[in-house]
Amino acid sequence: MSSTEVLIGDGPDTPATSYRTLPRRSTLMITVAVMVVAAIAWFFTLRMAGSMSDMVNGLGQVGRRMPNEMGIGRFLSMWSVMMVAMMAPAVIPAALAHRLVLRHRGESAVSSAAFVAGFLAVWSVVGVVYLLPFLWFRGLAADAADSWWLPVVAGSILVVAGGYQFSRQKAHCQGACCAPVTLALHNDAGTGPASALRTGVDHGIHCLGCCWALMAVLVVAS
């Protein structure tokens, strides 16, 4: 019998299984905790969006809005808050699966929090990559909006993002994300919060492989 079967029986390892396998109280507590964190992040994201609504934030807004003078530090902190808002709900099945592994070992909830923190840290660090296009397009002159190449660059980003959905890498990462208990066991770095943090980072990297292309759409639209 495999480790996965020990934890979830002989049923399929799917995101839905994660919600069914833990005791209801644990499932509820983790789900609510993550959703509260996401809700707080959405609150701040909406406030920031309101204060920047007349500025250029995406390729499609060049020439239609005022230049964005936001500093690098502010961009990265805004990105981190935005990623917590957008990605925290998506990590719930993985957090539940990871909790299942921890529970089997008798570990505390601190390790679960460390797992979620590690996952979200990956998406926060990715902000450095998205910073580069932001620094480029926010400085474009207004007449770039009427250039032939701006729609070509924007359209190419969308086509590449769409094409990636058919790649082997996407299929691999998607398959891993959709088998959360197997992934939690595969990425398991050992006992204690530090190891849980590392497991969360590994899981975040799988998630990145799955979702980076869709996130790239923000460069065009937002």
Partner: protein
């Protein structure tokens, strides 16, 4: 920050991480993105509409 796109993408991520048909769903999204990308290249005004900036032209200059 375009809140509509952010909320939309968040919902897509949520579905991708929860659906048993996530790969198929992702491929449907892929087709939609490719179509949108080609449409943006062939109809450049669509880019401003997609980003929520409208096609009404640049913002007025401030008086100094």
């Amino acid at each position: 920050m375009n809140i509509v796109w952010m909320i939309g993408l968040s919902l897509l991520f949520l579905v991708e991480k929860h659906s048993p048909k996530a790969l198929t769903f992702g491929r449907v999204l892929g087709v939609a993105l490719v179509v949108l990308g080609v449409a943006v290249v062939t109809q450049p005004d669509l880019l401003h509409t997609v980003s929520g900036a409208g096609a009404e032209g640049p913002p007025p200059m401030e008086m100094r």
